[in-house]
């Protein structure tokens, strides 16, 4: 039973009865009291900014309705297509690597390694997660600088003899993928391992009795049973992936300006807002990003019954 199935179980029976409820005298007065603070923050920092972004994206700086003009303007910007292409390349690389390696490693750690060793490995894989954000980029700047890197032999053997060669713009998706994987994958491996651990032993035992090897058990039983966790990870990783800002920004600084300052869509929106003073254009980019993110999430959610809220 996964977290998300539990969700369905919790929600479904609670609404089933249509008998009058005695709880919460005055029809949920207590409920309103308890959610008031959160609802306020949700309005101020969730609903309002979203609405405001849409308002800005469809108007100009004098507040006049301009239809899709802002979108047309930013999409025709010569920096728009590259920024979104960069993000797309990075996202595909990052999601594929993440899903394949995290699931594979979690399965191996669950079924092919002794529990003590497995716990140690999980812990060591998970530690770099503490260095998220700016710290991780700084560390990787050093890892990728042939002058100081502990794996400079590897960099040199790949023909990357100078820091400048490593930071060639074409390498950026790969570099960002390495950084994201380094900080993020360990935590997900821990979660996936926990999910695998929840599969009842009898199920695995039954498979073994019927002659299944560990790989077949993994492919036909374990992975299908943690599918919803994999979807959940993909959605979350996708959402973080669309937020690229500080990482390319720092790499841009470190490359002494050879990497474009509008490498990612968020950077482009930032330049629009704070260097060109065009908040409407910036909002249009945000809305496009938001639409892409929600569309992808909605697709995954619909296909996987994740977060099912409907009651039968």
């Amino acid at each position: 039973m996964t977290l998300l199935e539990t969700e369905r179980v919790i929600v479904a029976p609670s609404r089933r009865g249509t008998t009058p409820r005695r709880e919460g005298r005055g029809r949920g007065g207590a409920g309103y009291f308890f959610v008031a603070g959160y609802a306020l923050l949700l309005l101020a920092f969730g609903v309002f900014p979203t609405g405001y972004a849409f308002y800005l994206a469809f108007t100009n700086d004098r507040g006049q309705f301009t239809g899709l003009n802002q979108f047309v303007k930013v999409i025709q910007d010569y920096r728009f297509a590259p920024a979104f292409t960069h993000m797309l390349i990075y996202l595909v690389m990052w999601l594929v690597t993440l899903v394949v390696l995290v699931v594979l490693t979690a399965v191996i750690l669950r079924s092919r390694v002794r529990p003590g060793t497995s716990a140690l490995f999980r812990f060591l894989y998970y530690i770099p997660g503490a260095l998220a954000g700016v710290a991780s980029v700084l560390v990787w700047l050093f890892m990728l600088d042939p002058d100081v890197s502990p794996v400079s032999w590897l960099l040199t053997s790949m023909g990357l003899k100078t820091f400048a060669a490593v930071l060639a713009p074409g390498n950026l998706p790969l570099i960002l993928m390495l950084i994201a994987f380094w900080t993020g994958a360990g935590g997900w491996m821990v979660v996936m391992y926990g999910a695998l651990n929840n599969i009842p032993d009898e199920v695995l035992e039954a498979a073994r009795m019927d002659g299944a090897g560990p790989w077949q058990t993994a492919w036909h039983i374990q992975i299908p049973m943690i599918r919803q966790w994999i979807t959940y990870m993909t959605i979350m990783a996708f959402a973080t992936g669309t937020q690229l800002f500080v990482e390319p920004q720092l790499l841009q600084t470190a490359s002494l300006g050879r990497v474009s300052p509008t490498w990612s869509p968020n950077q482009l929106a930032y330049v629009y807002a704070f260097q060109q003073g065009d908040f409407n254009g910036a909002a249009a980019i945000s809305v496009v990003l938001l639409a892409v993110g929600l569309l992808a999430a909605a697709l995954l959610v619909a296909r996987s019954n994740l977060f099912t809220l409907d009651e039968k």
């Binding site: 959160y38 923050l41 900014p49 710290a135 019927d210 036909h220 002494l256 945000s286 938001l290």
Partner: protein
């Protein structure tokens, strides 16, 4: 178990693979991943013990001297008259303040969503789920404009208030109460004359310890490492949290900024030391929290 049955038919058609090859592949994969995850950490811990020259010339994984760590420490804290200390204090205030606010707001909200009935409950739940999977960075610009309109830019509230909005925390509390606090228990207490507030504070809250820990962990770590929002809303260096401070430190080092950084004592060992100090609170949390984290993440799952 229909899945097992399906699987069995699939398996019978296969040939058993040999044992040694998979073992080698598995070992190699785990070892490579271990190097990938751990090597940068070891390098980072060793770098401050060397001079800038030694970092380049010596074996990357050698230890320099304790004395040199002291020197790097002095150089780092001399930067802009101890800016590092100010940044750390700011980070503590921002992350700590929003942590308190997050818990005060999201625990009652999750409780009410799971265990009380009120009109609009489902709408609230759906909006929470949607904002949860929304790319947060896309809202940073409109939030900036909103804060600007209310003249909050440059105040600590411009960071603490948006940080305190944490739908994922509400969702976790909601799942937790929904799966671990039987509704009948509350009904019984209600019949015994408990007020709604007593139900929450005497029955639900004492039970919520594990999920409070979980929300606190995610909220604190996320906010401590957040960069984009404080970068936009805080104009002065004295107000920076340490993540934004690291960015400034990087842009003022001679290695990455030959013009403005010339003559500064902040080089690779100082940068490495700054990174270690900046992430230390989070690192400590990480070291002690792995087990609680998993059990908490799967709290909803292990039930039933």
């Amino acid at each position: 178990m229909t899945q097992t049955a399906l699987f069995l038919t699939a398996v019978r058609r296969r040939i058993r693979p040999s044992r040694t090859l998979p073992f080698l592949v598995v070992g190699l994969l785990l070892a490579l991943l271990l190097l990938f995850f751990v090597l940068p950490v070891i390098w980072l811990l060793l770098a401050p013990s060397k001079t800038a020259g030694e970092v380049v010339r010596d074996n990357p994984l050698s230890f320099g001297s304790l004395h040199q760590i002291g020197t790097a420490w002095r150089h780092l804290f001399a930067f802009q008259d101890g800016a590092m200390l100010t940044w750390l204090r700011n980070s503590a205030v921002y992350s700590g303040g929003s942590l308190i606010l997050t818990l005060a707001v999201s625990v009652p909200a999750g409780y009410a969503l799971a265990l009380t009935r009120f009109r609009g409950r489902k709408t609230l739940l759906v909006i929470t789920l949607v904002t949860m999977i929304m790319p947060q960075a896309t809202l940073v610009l409109p939030i900036f404009l909103e804060l600007n309109r209310f003249h909050l830019i440059g105040t600590i509230w411009s960071v603490i208030l948006p940080f305190s909005f944490y739908p994922f925390g509400v969702y976790l509390v909601y799942i937790y109460f929904g799966s671990s606090l039987p509704r009948d228990l509350l009904s019984a207490a209600r019949i015994d004359g408990c007020t709604e507030w007593q139900l929450f504070s005497r029955i639900a809250l004492p039970l919520a310890k594990p999920v409070v820990g979980l929300v606190a962990f995610f909220s604190f770590v996320g906010n401590w490492n957040n960069f984009f929002l404080p970068y936009l809303v805080l104009p002065n260096s004295e107000q920076f949290p340490v993540q934004v401070g690291l960015n400034q430190l990087l842009t003022s080092t001679p290695s990455f900024n030959p013009v403005a950084g010339a003559g500064l004592n902040v080089t690779i060992p100082e940068l490495a030391l700054a990174v270690i100090i900046a992430i230390l609170p989070v690192l400590v949390l990480f070291v002690f929290s792995q087990r609680t984290l998993v059990s908490g993440m799967l709290a909803g799952a292990s039930k039933e």
